[in-house]
Symmetry: C2
Subunit: 185 residues, 2 copies
DNA sequence: TTGACAACTTACTAACTAGTAAGTTAAGAT
DNA sequence: ATCTTAACTTACTAGTTAGTAAGTTGTCAA
């Protein structure tokens, strides 16, 4: 049952989305799986090992998500909208797990810090490529700083999830519109 | 020494900016002040009492900040830029404390959740007023959804602080430019 | 000088955390 | 039939946390 390992990773990812790295515990996971805490330690000796597995999992998901969007046979503007929607849907009830790990940055082990930094850079670069394409096609004006635009777009996506949870009000469609407005012209 | 109380609040605020609510402890505070943990409990019986005091402190700071910006005798566009800059400078080396508490939302006591919700709404409303003024003056186009714009602006401000810390790269000036581009037209 | 009070300290407790060591079970291969 | 191995369990340790109870010190007013 190589399943258990991925099951644990998936659960840890959910918990990071919900409460962050510091707040979640091996006890949370073991109770939800109906096994003992020690059996989680059997699969992931240390909490940081689990955290690294989670960041790898996020990286992989993000990579295939971006690839699938870029290979779609639709206009670039549609690709952008699709990527936003898919990233928003990924987090479900919680917030973006990368954001969560960024917030806990000073409390996570060094190995995990490194992964989170790489992950953030990877996500950013992916968006810069897509927005760069949009600029070539004239959707984004030529004077616009693509890197800064990518930062802004990502901030809006992550921010909308944050506000959705706290204010119990789904403003993702309106935020989406603002992002589109930001990108076009 | 009614000072001690505010000293503790200020320190807790710093720690929340750095590590969040869950990760900071009474021990952190007592060690930095050179007193015992029990003496922090003397001033704030429970951690949630301290957290409530911190949210009140943030509320007050934000209120006076917004009032001072709104009373400035400069064009509305300048007021917007000034408010962004002041909010960015407030957080220093850490992230926005409201963002931090939003991320820890599911782990904070109910009383604190309520305050964080109110605080988020207060900040948002303040920005909506300023952006509404800009719309009346024609800086912001009439078809733009002011509420959504406020969400986007705030997300960018908070996001830039997050990325600044993780990527060790200050992109606040460029983000600032994106926000201005978003607001104008 | 006494007494009241704020601001502590010392010395705990109860609960929870990550992590470990040693033993158990079930299934599949030789 | 026995061996191996993955996937556990039981039963701990050691450290940290929030929180408490009771006693101490310094200041200031009557």
């Amino acid at each position: 049952m190589e399943n258990r390992k991925t099951q644990i990773i998936e659960l840890a990812l959910d918990l990071i989305r919900e409460k962050g790295y510091v707040a979640f515990s091996y006890d949370d996971i073991s109770k939800q799986l109906g096994v003992t805490k020690a059996s989680i330690h059997y699969h992931f000796e240390r909490k940081e090992d689990l955290a690294v597995a989670v960041t790898d999992r996020i990286h992989q998901t993000l990579k295939s998500l971006m690839q699938s969007v870029k290979n779609e046979d639709v206009p670039t503007e549609e690709k952008i909208k699709n990527l936003i929607n898919k990233q928003l849907k990924l987090s479900g009830k919680g917030i973006c797990p990368i954001s969560s790990l960024q917030t806990d940055f000073e409390s996570i082990p060094e190995v995990v810090q490194l992964r989170v930094r790489e992950l953030s850079q990877f996500e950013l670069t992916g968006w810069m490529e897509l927005l760069g394409q949009a600029q070539v096609e004239g959707i984004v004006k030529s004077f616009v700083d693509i890197e800064a635009l990518a930062y802004a777009v990502l901030s809006c996506i992550k921010g909308s999830l944050q506000y959705k949870r706290v204010l119990e009000k789904d403003i993702t469609p309106q935020i989406m519109e603002q992002i589109v407005r930001m990108v076009k012209r």
